[in-house]
Each structure stands twice: as structure tokens, then as C-alpha cells.
Amino acid sequence: MTKVSMTVNGRQVSGDVEDRTLLVHFIRDRLGLTGTHVGCDTSQCGACVVHMDGKAIKSCSTLAVQAAGSSITTIEGLAKDGELHPVQAAFKANHGLQCGFCTPGMVMAAVDMINRHGGNLDEATVRENLEGNICRCTGYHNIVKAILAAAAEMSAGRQAAE
């Protein structure tokens, strides 16, 4: 057992974990934040994507001890003051989700993608960047649409703020 401490969604948390405990299981089973999902065990499907120190990672292939001292944001930490994040809002407006299982990972990956590319996203780039996230319901059509809409809105928001 090793004691780990980290910040999750702005809250300081700690706990004793087995060395083999994966970050996703620490988040789900210890912290009760069940929005982060396990879909494949092989780092392929992306249902487990969270942000570690501001970057998207797959929590199913990260040990909890590797995350010690870091700042983690999960899907539960994305909306602020009850207002959906623009990416969440765009997924809803564009019907970018059906069963909802891949959705938290998709949204976290999309936020990271928009952070990296800003307003310079086009359909081909979005599709290439979704390589690590699998959805079985939507055929990606509306996910791509939602990410492009959110990127445009966030970029317009940034320009208005400048």
C-alpha cells in the first residue's frame, strides 16, 4: 500500500492504494466519481480520459501512484456553477451523444483538442485527433459537428474577451 495525494476537481484528496491500483479505479471506487468509465482495458477506447495537469490522459493506463501530486480534472469537474462547459453544451445541441458511455471521455478529449488547436480545427483534424476515442452509437458524425461548433464558439469567446 502506498499513500497518494492529489487534487481532483479542485479538492485535495488522499488514500492508501495498492501499487497496481489504476487511476481510473481510484477515481471511481475511492472517490465515487463514476463519470469516468472503463471501456477497454487497453488504452484504445478513451472512455477513461481525464485531464492531468491540464492535459488529456487515459486513466485506465495510469497508475494512481503516477498521479500523486498532480491536479486531475474529471468530467464532474468541467461544468462551473451549474453551467455546462461550451463543449458539453455543444454535444447536447448537436446530439453528439446517445448512450452516454463514451461521452465523458469524448468531452474531456475534445476540450484538450480545442485547447491544443484553438480555432484552427477542421473536420479532418478533429477526426484524426479522435483516434484514441471510440464511440459505437453516433458514427462520430455529430461528435465531430459538436467539437467544431464548440471550437468556433470558444475561439469567438476568446476573441471577444481580448
Partner: protein, 783 residues
């Protein structure tokens, strides 16, 4: 239509919880004292169990118990069943071998459960499962259905000699069909393989069994598309508990595509193990377990003869299909290659003689059952590949050959049971060709040629049958259940409304579309309407969601209940306003006397029903009505899909340039949701045609595609955006005119894609999935 009524593109009510991580799936459930199960699974495709030594495992940290199949047998837990009886041509019933939830004498596929460990943590349960020693006597295995029928092959079940489950036929007599083929001006013959697929809902299956000794009561949380069917089957056949002592809850379910219809060993084991060990037991599949044990789809091997007269009209169709059922008969397996397949072999065409023969076969592979489309994709792929091939052989355009043979008057009785009620196949064909700019294809092909690329275009005209019914008809064909649906509409005293439905939503958006029906009827906001489903303690009975039935059947039941609520509400409103019941209209959230300015708000009508201070003489208080709806016919969605591809002859890689879908779904409640269903279906169809395939090693029966690193799931960059449109003819057989939209995409798309690739490369000899390696080889073989 109102802004939230029928036909409106309403954003989904359920989205917020999924987008904020507040969805509640089975693996998210935590109950006090909960422990974890891990299964010991057979590493052999076929073996006799000589003994199981669990002594080492029992002593390991955290282990509460190691249970086996013999104990399950001793406790009277029954065999898993197939619920649809098929009789062979000779009149004999299908040959069903015994399927134990945990094998105790023979294992028949890699992944067959042989023991289960219950422990304090998942890790401890898995560690101990690895320490269970099973002494196997390996037996020879067979994984291919055609081979399994050959003499001297390994035998799976003593009940099924030669591994043959049934040998069944449908349609026109064989001699008459053969005579029509012999007299034909042209016959197109093909061998068609429909590749085996893994459904791959993103949420792996899971189950949590909770036994309450005080009340001798069980609760099962499970990833099910039909919790009531699960309860019925677990009570009536597996003897887990009587229905009144078993509550089944299917909370948020992360996709199903058919794979979560069936009752699997694991949920039965979790319930039984909870009683045996005295603790709640949870099991969650990992992805490899899912590949090993979720029911697979498709896996047909067929030969087809299609006969034409001198005017290019189809005169006869003869189909011989071998269907791989895997090691055991899953819940609806027997119906898939029979009543969901052979009945659709007329397609959109007027074919006077159709003879279909189907043989169902055991092999040492995972059970095979319904997967999105279930039989209808196999029928469509066979027909539409044959039509395309015939057009090439006859030297006429594929559109012209289809037009020549379209059914144009309705109702139309096919030789294979179905009676098509409505449709306009020409309309979808024209819409798709226009959208795809079919006429401009030649120029695009020439342009691609200049870049060294091979461009091709292909079409597929599909028909499917949804809302499997009526119950009496399916009963006469062997179904073990009725295929109606139930609904209850409860108006609360303040006018808010709960709709209880036997349908189950696992991505289809029922919480929104079903609420739209109510909003449309009473003019109340959809936020005042809640949809209740997925819990056998809340909803009395229902048949669940599969076969695109929730709209045509589930919503029709809601309409019937709404009719009753409306009738009673009108009586109350008429009484309150001292008007004639026939003059009352309910809209925009109030009851009005037509032609006057007299109104009563909706909530006051509801309140009056519950205060019961001033009701019409003799009326019972309350405003709550239930209904069961049993359809009078199947529904027949249809459409035309066109795919244009560009193949790189150097690498064999296929790029999809455009994909056009023109569908007839009848009336549509929420176009946004319907389009989403089509997108997802097309992606699965493209997956089947280009990427996906379950592979077993033919010698050892080992599954070679057991993770996302080996099984090619469609990813975003494999697919284009889709062009989707509707040309709808309302269904005349249900109150909403709905046909169903959930499976069309997966049914119509694979042949369009393969027709396009074979058009591009000039070689018709290509099987699914059309991987770059296969396409490259086909390109080179053609040169």
C-alpha cells in the same frame, strides 16, 4: 407540431446527466457489503472437465468463496434456453443442447465459465481465479459452420447429431423454384459470406446480485435491453426465484445493439452466488471477456441463384444458408436466420418464387444471436450484392435493374410470409441518386483515374421488418413470448405526468421522444413529463427494446394510454365547465370549450381528478391509465443507400468519398434523434464491410480478435460525414404511422460499400471486411 411536439428537433432531456458524469450505469452501483466476482474461464475451445481444485484459491487473501457448476446444478438452477422454437423440414423440433451457466462436465468454447470466485476486491477475485486449477481433457474443436456439418468432425452436443440444430425451409416449393430457374433467360449465381461480428457496446456487460435473506428476495442490477424479459426468463426457466421475489433493474445502459437482449450466465450466477455467500456480488466484464462471451452477430455462409426473364425481371430466387450458432443456442438465436432473415429475401422486389433453406449449426465458438439488424442485414447483403452482380452481368445499370423489379403496389404479399403495407422505393432511389450526383460520377471517376486512383460507386436498396408482431402470429411461428408493449400514463394531482413504459432506452433518447408525444397531446412542456423505465418494481411488464420496436410498438402503447387519459380528462373538464364532452379540446396546457372563451388549466383538471370534490356522477377519482398494444403487422422501413469510394491500387486502402442515405421510416417524432440512429447504424455497417471481423484459429478455436488492438472498430477517421434524408410514407398499421429507424443504417450500408469497391477495382470477388490486404490482392488479381 408544437416546439416540443411530434416532429420537433428537441434537444435530449437525458443529455445533462451523461454530459456531467452523472449517468448511473450498472458498474456505478454500490450497495453495502458488496463483493466482487471473477470467473474462471475455459482456455480450451472444447474439453472435458476431469476435476476442479479450488483449495489454493480458497485460502487466498480476501476470498469469500469459490463456486462451481456442480453446486449450481445441486441448487436446481436451470439450463439457459433459446426462446423461439423452430421445426425442421421433417417436422422435428430444433436440437437444443444443454447450456449450463457454469459448465461442470464439458466446455465448448474459449471463455465458457467453469467456476466463479467471490472476493473483497476485483483484484483479489482475479488473483484467486488464476489459482483455481482445472484439469481438462482436451477435445478436437471445430469453429467453421460449413466444416462442422461435414462427416467425422468434432461433435458438440449429443442432442444434435452432426452439429445440425435445424434444417428449415421457407417460401415457394423447391421443385417449383428450380423449374423457374431452369426456364430463366439468365441466372446469377453467387456464394456470399456474411462475416462474424462482435457487437461492442461501449459499456461492457455487468451484473450486481443482491440477496435479502430476511425477505428471501433478490435484486439484480444488470445491463439489459429488456429487464422484464430477464426477470421472466430467470424465474420461469432458471429457477433463480419466483417473479414476485426478483426485482430486475436495468439503469442507464451504455449501448446494446442486440447484445444485451439475452440473459447470460453471469447475471444468474451473481444472484445465485449472492445467496450462497450471503453478500451482494458484482461482476463487470472487461473488454476481452466481452469479446469472448458477448453473443456475436452474423456469420452466415450462403449460396444464391437469382433468375431473370428476357426482360430482366426476376422470376425466382433460391437461397441456401448455413448459420453458425456457436457453442450454445442463445435466447433468440433460432429466430435470426429464419423469421428475421428468410422472410426478408424478397427485398424491395416483386419476386414470384422464393425458396430459402437454412441450416443452423453448432461450433466451438461464442454463441451467436441478434446484432443490430439481426438477419435483415444478412438478407440485404445477399440480395443487393446479387442484384449488383446481375446488373453487371446483364449489362444494364444497377438503378435500372432495381427499378424494373420494384414492388409498386401495396399491400404486397411476398412468397416468404411478409405482407408489405406501404412504401415508395422509387422515391428513395431517386432522392439518393440526386443527392449523390450519380449522373456526375463518370467525370469524378475520370478525374480520380488521372490521379492514379480507382473510383467506384455502389447502391443498396434495403427493406427491413420491425416491430415483430402480432403476438398471435409470432406465437404460431414458434416465439416463446408475445411481442406487444405496455404503457401507463400517470397524471399527478398538479398536472405533471409520468409515463411508465416497457421499452428500455440505452441511447435511443426515449426520455425525450416519449415526452414529446405527451407534449403534443396536451400542450404541456416536456419538462413536466418524466419517463419511467427499466425497473420491474416500477413498470409492471414490458418486452423491452430491440428490433426497432420502441417507436412502432412502445410509443403506440403510450398513445393508447394517452387516449384513455384524454377521454377521462375531457369528461372532467366538461363537467367543470358545464359543457358537452364532445366540445372539449385539450391544447396548450388547458382544456377549452370549442368556439367559446371558456377554459380550465390542465393542472386544474388533474387536481379535480384527485380532490374528487366535483367529478361527474359515478366517476372514479384519479387520472391514470394503462394500455397494452399488440401490433397488427410488422412495419417495413426501406430506403436506398449510395456509397462512393476511392481505392488506392498501390496500398489497397479504401477511402469513402461520400455516403448517402435516403430512408423511409414513416412518420418521425424527433428528426434529430432519427438521424443520429442512422449515422450510428451506417458506421456499424461500414465497420462490417471495411474493418470488423471476429477470427478464431480454426485448429485451436482460440479467439484471435479479443481486444481493440486486434479487432478493428470504426474510428472517426475511418468514416466520412453522412448525407441523410427521408422520403416517408406513413405506416398504415399503427396510430403514429411510425416504421422504426434503429437498424436501417446497419442493414443498408454494407452492400452499398462492397458494390462500390468492386465497381472501383473491376473484381467482384471480395469478402467482408474489405481490408487493404484483400482489396490490394483483388486489384492485382483483376489486372
Amino acid at each position: 407540431m408544437g416546439v416540443e411536439g411530434i416532429g420537433a428537433r428537441v434537444a435530449r432531456k437525458e443529455d445533462k446527466r451523461f454530459l456531467t458524469g452523472k449517468g448511473r450505469y450498472t458498474d456505478d452501483m454500490v450497495v453495502p457489503g458488496m463483493k466482487y466476482a471473477a470467473f474462471v474461464r475455459s482456455p480450451h475451445a472444447h474439453a472435458r472437465i476431469r476435476g476442479i481444485d479450488s483449495s489454493a484459491a480458497e485460502g487466498m487473501p480476501g476470498v469469500i468463496g469459490v463456486l462451481n457448476g456442480k453446486q449450481m446444478l445441486d441448487d436446481g438452477i436451470g439450463n439457459l434456453i433459446c426462446g423461439w422454437m423452430i421445426h425442421s423440414k421433417d417436422g422435428s423440433p430444433m436440437k437444443m443442447g444443454a447450456w449450463r451457466p457454469i459448465a461442470h462436465d464439458t466446455v465448448r468454447y474459449v471463455g465458457d465459465a467453469v467456476a466463479v470466485v467471490v472476493a473483497d476486491s476485483v483484484g483479489e477475485a482475479r488473483d484467486a481465479a488464476e489459482a483455481v486449477v482445472v484439469d481438462y481433457e482436451e477435445l478436437p474443436a471445430v469453429t467453421d459452420a460449413v466444416m462442422a456439418l461435414e462427416p467425422a468432425r468434432p461433435q458438440l452436443h449429443p442432442e444434435a447429431a452432426g452439429n445440425l440444430i435445424y434444417d428449415w425451409a421457407l417460401g415457394t416449393g423447391e421443385a417449383e423454384t428450380d423449374a423457374a430457374i431452369a426456364a430463366a433467360a439468365h441466372v446469377t449465381e453467387m456464394t456470399i459470406v456474411n462475416n462474424r461480428l462482435a457487437p461492442n457496446a461501449m459499456e461492457p456487460r455487468a451484473a450486481l446480485g443482491v440477496y435479502d435473506a430476511a425477505d428471501d428476495h433478490y435484486t439484480c442490477y444488470t445491463t439489459s435491453q429488456n429487464p422484464h424479459v430477464a426477470r421472466l426468463v430467470m424465474s420461469a426457466f432458471y429457477n433463480v426465484a419466483p417473479e414476485n421475489k426478483l426485482r430486475v433493474i436495468a439503469p442507464d445502459v451504455g449501448g446494446g445493439f442486440g447484445s444485451k437482449i439475452f440473459i447470460y450466465p453471469e447475471e444468474i450466477v451473481c444472484l445465485w452466488a449472492s445467496k450462497r455467500t450471503g453478500v451482494p456480488v458484482k461482476w463487470t466484464s472487461d473488454r476481452t471477456e466481452a469479446f469472448l462471451t458477448d453473443a456475436h452477430g452474423r456469420d452466415h455462409h450462403s449460396t444464391v441463384k437469382m433468375a431473370f426473364d428476357a426482360d430482366n425481371r426476376i422470376t425466382a430466387l433460391k437461397v441456401d444458408t448455413i448459420a453458425n450458432f456457436g457453442a450454445y443456442m442463445s435466447l433468440f438465436s433460432s429466430a435470426v436466420p429464419t423469421y428475421l432473415y428468410a422472410t426478408l429475401l424478397s427485398g424491395q422486389y416483386d419476386i414470384p418464387a422464393i425458396h430459402a433453406n437454412v441450416r443452423a449449426v453448432y461450433t466451438n465458438t461464442a454463441p451467436v444471436d441478434a446484432y443490430r439488424g439481426a438477419g435483415r442485414p444478412e438478407a440485404t447483403f445477399l440480395l443487393e450484392r446479387t442484384m449488383e452482380t446481375a446488373a453487371r452481368e446483364l449489362g444494364i445499370s444497377p438503378a435500372e435493374l432495381r427499378r424494373k423489379n420494384f414492388i409498386r403496389s401495396f399491400p404486397h404479399q411476398t412468397p416468404v410470409i411478409m405482407n408489405y403495407d406501404a412504401g415508395d422505393y422509387e422515391a428513395s432511389l431517386e432522392a439518393a441518386m440526386r443527392e449523390a450526383d450519380w449522373a456526375g460520377f463518370g467525370a469524378r471517376k475520370a478525374e480520380a483515374e488521372r490521379r492514379g486512383k480507382k473510383r467506384g460507386i455502389g447502391m443498396s436498396c434495403y427493406i427491413e421488418a420491425c416491430g415483430i408482431a402480432p403476438s398471435a402470429a409470432v406465437g404460431s411461428l414458434g416465439a416463446g413470448v408475445g411481442l406487444w408493449e405496455s404503457a401507463e400514463v400517470r397524471v399527478n394531482a398538479v398536472g405533471t405526468i409520468e409515463v411508465l413504459t416497457g421499452s428500455h432506452s440505452h441511447g435511443q433518447g426515449h426520455e425525450t421522444t416519449f415526452a414529446q408525444l405527451v407534449a403534443d397531446r396536451f400542450g404541456v412542456p416536456i419538462d413536466s413529463v418524466s419517463i419511467v423505465h427499466g425497473d420491474t418494481d416500477k413498470v409492471q411488464m414490458g418486452m423491452g427494446t430491440y428490433g426497432s420496436r420502441s417507436g412502432a410498438v412502445g410509443m403506440s402503447a403510450i398513445v393508447k394510454a394517452l387516449d384513455k387519459v384524454e377521454a377521462k380528462a375531457k369528461k372532467i373538464a366538461a363537467h367543470l365547465m358545464e359543457a358537452d364532452e364532445g366540445d372539449i379540446v385539450i391544447e396548450n396546457g388547458e382544456a377549452k370549450v370549442a368556439g367559446t372563451d371558456k377554459t380550465v388549466p390542465w393542472f386544474q383538471v388533474a387536481l379535480a381528478a384527485y380532490t374528487a370534490h366535483n367529478l361527474p356522477a359515478g366517476m372514479e377519482p384519479g387520472l391514470k391509465e394503462g394500455a397494452f398494444y399488440d401490433p397488427s403487422n410488422f412495419t417495413f422501413p426501406a430506403g436506398c443507400y449510395i456509397c462512393e469510394v476511392e481505392v488506392d491500387p498501390e496500398t489497397g486502402k479504401t477511402g469513402i468519398v461520400q455516403f448517402v442515405a435516403a430512408d423511409d421510416f414513416g412518420n418521425i417524432i424527433n428528426p434529430m434523434i432519427v438521424e443520429g440512429q442512422v449515422h450510428g447504424g451506417i458506421a456499424q455497417g461500414i465497420g462490417q464491410a471495411l474493418l470488423e471481423g471476429v477470427h478464431y484459429d480454426p485448429q485451436t478455436g482460440q479467439l484471435l480478435t479479443a481486444s481493440y488492438m486486434d479487432y478493428a472498430m470504426p474510428r472517426a477517421h475511418d468514416l466520412p460525414s453522412f448525407k441523410v434524408s427521408h422520403q416517408n410514407t406513413p405506416c398504415p398499421n399503427n396510430p403514429l404511422g411510425i416504421k422504426g429507424c434503429g437498424e436501417a443504417g446497419a442493414i443498408g450500408s454494407p452492400p452499398a460499400l462492397i458494390n462500390a469497391i468492386t465497381d472501383a477495382i473491376g473484381n467482384n470477388d471480395l469478402t467482408m471486411p474489405a481490408t487493404p490486404q484483400k482489396v490490394w490482392a483483388a486489384v492485382n488479381a483483376a489486372q
